[in-house]
Every structure is written in C-alpha cells, then in structure tokens.
Subunit: 427 residues, 2 copies
C-alpha cells in the first residue's frame, strides 16, 4: 500500500508541505478568481479530453490500486467504488464537460441598489478562495471536485484516500494538463503528494491558507475532520430521513413512494430510513408488504408489528439509525403533530417527506419541518444536486451556515459589496 | 462589580445553565421560526414602548453601572460607551422600531424552478435557530441584537459585559415584556444571568444548542471567542482599510475623501488606516497637509516623509496597524499594480477604496481587490449596515463564509429546499 512513499522525498514536515501548497494555491486562486468563464471552460474541456486520451494510463493506474486493494482485503463494496472501466471513465469525462457548461457563478450580481446619496451599491459573487477537499475511495471525486472548484474560480487542494492513490494521480494529471493548455495556473488543482496522515492534520489547521474544508466520505472521516479542523468545515453528516404517510395519503402513491424512497438505492444519503404512518391511514399493511416483497427488512413499533408476522420489533436505537441498507423502521404516529414530534426528535435534518393529498397539511409540513430538504409527494431519493438541476454537487451540507442541502457552484462562492460613488463623504 | 452575584443562586455548573437556556431557546425558536411577521413586529413595538415607559428604571440601572465603572477606573472612552441618557435611550427605542419596519426575511423565496419530471423546487429563507451574542460595554447592543434576532425568527442568548450588567438587565426586561404582550415566547430573548466567565466558555462549546456565535467587541474578545468556540462563529476582525489615490484622482475629491475616511470618526472599523498614493499623482502634499490640519498624525514612507517636516517616518509595523485613532500611515505606490500588491499584503479585507476619475482603473480595482467591501470614490466610513440600507447591523463579518460585510436580518437566516411533487419516484 505504501509503495508510493518510496517515490517521494522524505516528508520532513507536513505543515511545511501544506504551507507551500497553500501559498501556491492562494496565488493560483488570485488568477483564477478573475479568469474569464471561457478560459475556465476551456481548461475543463481540455481536462476531459485528457481523461479520454489517457484512458489506458488511468485504467492501468486504477488496476494497480485494485490489485493493492484486493491484497489489503478491501470489501467488495469498497473495491466496486474504487474500480474504473472505460464506461465509468467516460462518465467522469462527461461530468467534467457538464460542469463546463454550467453558468459561471463568479461575478453574478445578487442585488443592486442606489442609496439616497447617489452611491450605487451592488453585491456580487466571488470565489471562496482555496478549498480543501478530503475524501475516500471513489476516484471520480478527484475529477468532480477539481471541476467544480475550477469553474467556481477556486483553487482546490485534494487529498484522496490511500487506496485510490494511483488513480487519483492519473486523473489529477489530466487537470494539470487542461489548466496548462488553457493558460491557467496548474496550481489551481493540487493533489497532496503523500498519504501521511499528518498532512491531513496540517490541512485541517491551515487557517489563512485554506478557506474551507469539505470532507466527503463516511462518518469516521467527517467526524475526524469536524473534530480537528480549525478551518471552517462544510460537512455532511447523517441522512436519517423520514417519509410520513398522512391519513390523507393516496394509497397507491404511498406504496410506490415508500418502496422507491427506501429501496431504489439503499446506500445513498437520500434514502429513507424511517417511515411514519398516521394512525388514521387506511392501508398500512400494503406498505409493509410491498417493502418486504421488495426485499426490505421491516422493523416496526407495536402497532406495525401487529400487522404482519414478518415485521421485526424495533428497538429504541432503530429510530436514530442510518441503516444505509435494505432495512427500514416503521412507526405509527398520531397525525401530523405526532409525525412532527418524531421528526423533531429523530431527524438528522437532511431530507424529510410527507405523502398526502391534503394541500393544507402538505404546506404545514413544508413550513414546520426544519430540514435541509422538505418534500411533498416525492421520493427522498431525489435529494441530489444533479436532480435539483445544480449540474453536479460537491456534497450535501447538513449544517445551517453558508450552504444547506446540495452544494454545487454557488455554494463554493461568497460575495463582496461594491460601492460606486462620485466623491460621497459620510456626514 | 460583582454585587449581582449575590442576587443569584450559586452557579453549580455553567454548562448546566447554558444547556437549560439552550433548550428553552430551541423551543422558543421553533415557535418564533413560524411566527407571522405582524406578531414579531408587534413584540418589537411593545418592547420599544417599554424602553420608553421604563426610561427612569433603565437610566437608574445605568447610573449604577456608571458608578461601579468609575470606581473600577474605567477609561473615559469606556464610560462614554456605557453611558445612557434620555436621548440615547430614545435612540435605542427608535432603532428597535426601525427593525420592526424592515422586510421579514423568513419565508422569502430565493429561487424557484420546475424540474423536467414536474417537481416544483424552491429555496426559501428560514431562521438560523439559536444565536449566541457575546459583547462588551455598549448596552445598546442588548436591544439591537434582541431586535434583529427576533425579527429574523431566531432565539437569542445574550451575554453582555460585566460593566453593563444592570443596564443590560433593564433593557432585556423590556423585550421580555414585549414578547409576552405579543404572545410570543419570552425565552426567545434570554440574557445569561451571571458574569461568571465559565458561562461564556459553555456557550462557546454549546454545539447543537447554539447554531452560531456572534462576538461584538474588541480584538481580545473576538480572539478568545474564535479560539475557544466549537460552535460556528461569525466574526469581525480588524478593519485595516486602505484608500488608494490613483494618478487620475480628482485632487479636490482626494483631499475630501482622505480627510473624511480617516478623521470623521477614528474609532470605527470602517475608518481608513492607510492611504496609498500613486507615484504619478500630482498633489500628494495637499492630502498630507489637510490631514495634519484636521489633527491627524501622519506617518509616511520615505517619499511621503520627504514632502513635509510634519510627517513622522513610518515603521514596518505601521502598515499592519489598526490605529482606531487620529493616526494614518501614508505610502507611495507604483500605480495600480503597486496599490494592489500593498493591499493584498496588508489589508484585513474589510473595506478598501480607490479615488480615481478613470473608469477602467476603478472597475479593475472593484474586480481585483478581494475585500468584503470595495469602493470607488466614496469614503470607507460608509462601511455600515445602516448606510447600506440594511436597516441595522449585528456586525461586519470579515470572514468569507455565510455572510460577508455588514450582517443584518438576511445574515441571520439560512434556507431550506422545498420540493412539491405529485408522486414522483426516482428512476
């Protein structure tokens, strides 16, 4: 696993390495922050071209990672995340070009006004600056993060997982080539050249050098980042999502939405983990049966367990569990108020949904449930930047500050205030 | 100074106190977050009425603080910040009513779209939740913070300075009465009932209970808050602001802007601290002379010091100094590029301005200077939420995340995504 360490100079000081990378990133960010949209798009198109032209080299690098991963005993799921093939690589290149086609957020005017003294005031989007991204096994994150960072005018410092080190370097090389071809600074996309964990620590403490850290990975990674970071973190925590079946739900929609929200893909953060069924709803058993028929293990409270011998009794821990698996907890609640109280107590405030034909109840749910995404008669599996029309996403933020829910180009920007005067002084 | 401690039960555990206050704030925030605009405005009008009706009580409380402050040897400047009189109190009440008249940010739609599958997507503003505000001697902050918090639907936990403890309690009582009169939870505006510094520490670590901490005060306070906080902080650091006099500046505007930007009020964060003069500018001496005539001490680099025997030589530290006093550093630079390099190296990225009649140079300055506020032909003293039309401000943020520059009602909100479907499932 550490073969790459042999090819690097000894790491005297992780903080020095990160300080040097940060300084180069800052210089690159200054240029990228005022780069024309066409130049940024050209760099992305050139990078996508490189990803296709260098497919053999990238797939060979990936094969080395896969071989090392098998030797190290990675699970089949992890190996699948790590694996690239022609099709997946083409998809990565397509995604880079899709980002190049998105509207450039930099320079967009958020608001404009004229003050009584004649000063013109405007607020315009500017890049955040230097963005650190710490992620795990999927090599596509290297390309996604580089593309989103570049298009939003930010310099990025990428630190991928050790299991994907060769794949990440090969993909990174395509962006360096793309930046150079477009006449933009190659330092705008840097990859931390060591898997030494001290470098992660240094990145998390690089106040003034790095403007924001975005962790992408499992709970262990995110928790470590949040705990150690002195740089602000845009983090994604659990997706303990609820689907509430109201008394006024359409039974056919309820079944279809419950099965899709839970079972379409069980491993994504938008998957429903708990279904709440109004005591007054007419057909709870159909929901339970449909989930079981779809291969889902159902854990129910007393009322739900009484419906079917195939329901396991839920324990207290089930209501706070992100299964990320074909398991669902189902509880009976007393109407809207009961659902709201359960969601308040147990939701991770990622995505919660109601199924109802009663418009007033739906609007109350949308207003009163305080989650990043609140849905009416739609599957929680839609919680995704691409599905929301953002073109791509760097993650889904579960905090409340700066950005909430799917984060894409706009979430990678801040703003500044511009004042255009004619000599005004303050009285 | 600690007389108030005698009137309180012994503080067994600061963390317990803050946890209890936080839980009550969270419950209040839930109600306030969905309260109609009219109810919030009614509470503010009732609070303003109380501030006027209870003027004698509030001024008597302030007199106790002033007497204690004199005994404790507070400086004249601090005593002036602490002092209330009929006029100042009326101004505080007026400011509360001005906030009540501002547009309610909660529920405002930021964007809306319809997805190809027919789902309606919208993004609407919601309150941040529970806001902790830690501040120093000015008792008007109690009213400003309470009013802005309440109008933006947030519960606030206020922790003022010990020197203003009686004034703050009397002003806080007006808000409790106003909330109760409007039928809103009194716990929406809480004042930490002890000056024990352990309570500040507990507030800074109240993750999950408090959504954001806003420090208002001097560098010592802000630095402590940033260092200790585990809750996100919206902080205001230095205002090392620059006024760049370009070769194409109008000399009359240059003199007027330089004197106003530096001398109108020297103690505010929007005051200019360094003036940069283009080597090619025709009349640098007039700027130096006008500042000296206005009572300002001028510290110049070699070129500026050579202009007048009244200029002191600047030392290296002068270029990174927030004087907050009638002192200015003036340096000569080589045109736009020289000014940009100096600002990049020394600005605290609060407010920087250019004086020029050359529109192209002005636009380059606005685009390339990366500060929260960038101005053309206007005094840096305008860096203020009220002057920007925000109605009031809770502070000026010098960080890059969430909010930048003057922070008012909108900066105290986040957003959520609403999805209105008709049964859509994800393929």
């Amino acid at each position: 696993m550490n073969a790459e360490a042999l090819t690097l100079p000894p790491l005297a000081d992780a903080a020095t390495l990160i300080a040097e990378m940060g300084a180069r990133a800052r210089a690159a960010a200054k240029r990228l922050g005022v780069a024309p949209t066409a130049d940024k798009a050209a760099a992305l198109h050139a990078a996508a071209h490189q990803l296709r032209a260098q497919a053999a080299v990238i797939l060979e690098a990936n094969a080395r990672d896969m071989a090392a991963g098998k030797t190290a005993g990675l699970t089949a799921a992890l190996l699948d995340r790590l694996r690239l093939d022609e099709g997946r690589l083409a998809g990565i290149a397509d995604a880079v070009e899709a980002v190049a086609a998105l509207p450039d957020p930099v320079g967009a005017e958020i608001e404009r006004s004229v003050r009584p003294n004649g000063m013109e005031l405007s607020r315009v989007r500017v890049p955040l600056g230097v963005v650190g991204i710490i992620y795990e096994s999927r090599p596509n994150v290297t390309a996604d993060a580089a593309a989103l960072g570049l298009m939003s005018g930010n310099a990025v410092i990428l630190r991928g997982g050790s299991e994907a080190v060769h794949s990440n370097r090969a993909i990174h090389a395509a962006f360096v080539a793309g930046l150079e071809e477009a006449g933009l600074p190659a330092d705008a996309v840097q990859l931390v050249p060591t898997q030494d964990r001290a470098a992660v620590g240094a990145l998390l403490r690089a106040q003034g050098l790095v403007d924001i850290i975005i962790p992408r990975g499992g709970k262990g990674l995110v928790a470590r980042v949040q705990d150690e970071a002195r740089v602000p973190v845009l983090a994604h925590l659990d997706g303990i999502n609820h689907l509430y079946i109201d008394a006024a739900a359409d039974p056919a929609k309820a079944v279809e939405l419950a099965v899709n929200a839970k079972m379409r893909r069980t491993g994504i953060c938008g998957a429903t983990e708990t279904i709440l069924i109004d005591r007054a709803y007419s057909a709870p058993l159909a929901i339970v049966d449909a989930l079981i028929a779809a291969g889902c293990e159902v854990r129910g409270d007393k009322a739900i367990a009484a419906l079917s011998p195939h329901v396991e009794p839920a324990t207290a821990g089930d209501w706070d569990c992100e299964y990320l698996d074909a398991i669902v907890s189902i509880g009976q609640v007393d109407g809207f108020a009961g659902a709201l109280a359960h969601i308040d107590a147990h939701s991770s405030r990622h995505t919660d949904a109601i199924v109802t034909e009663d418009a007033a109840t739906a609007e109350r749910f949308l207003a009163e449930v305080d989650s990043a995404i609140v849905m009416h008669n739609a599957s929680t599996q839609f919680a995704d930047g691409g599905e929301f029309g953002l073109g791509a996403e760097i993650g889904i933020a579960t905090g409340r500050l700066h950005a909430r829910g799917p984060v894409a180009l706009e979430g990678l920007t801040t703003y500044k205030w511009l004042v255009r005067g004619t000599g005004q002084v303050r009285l």
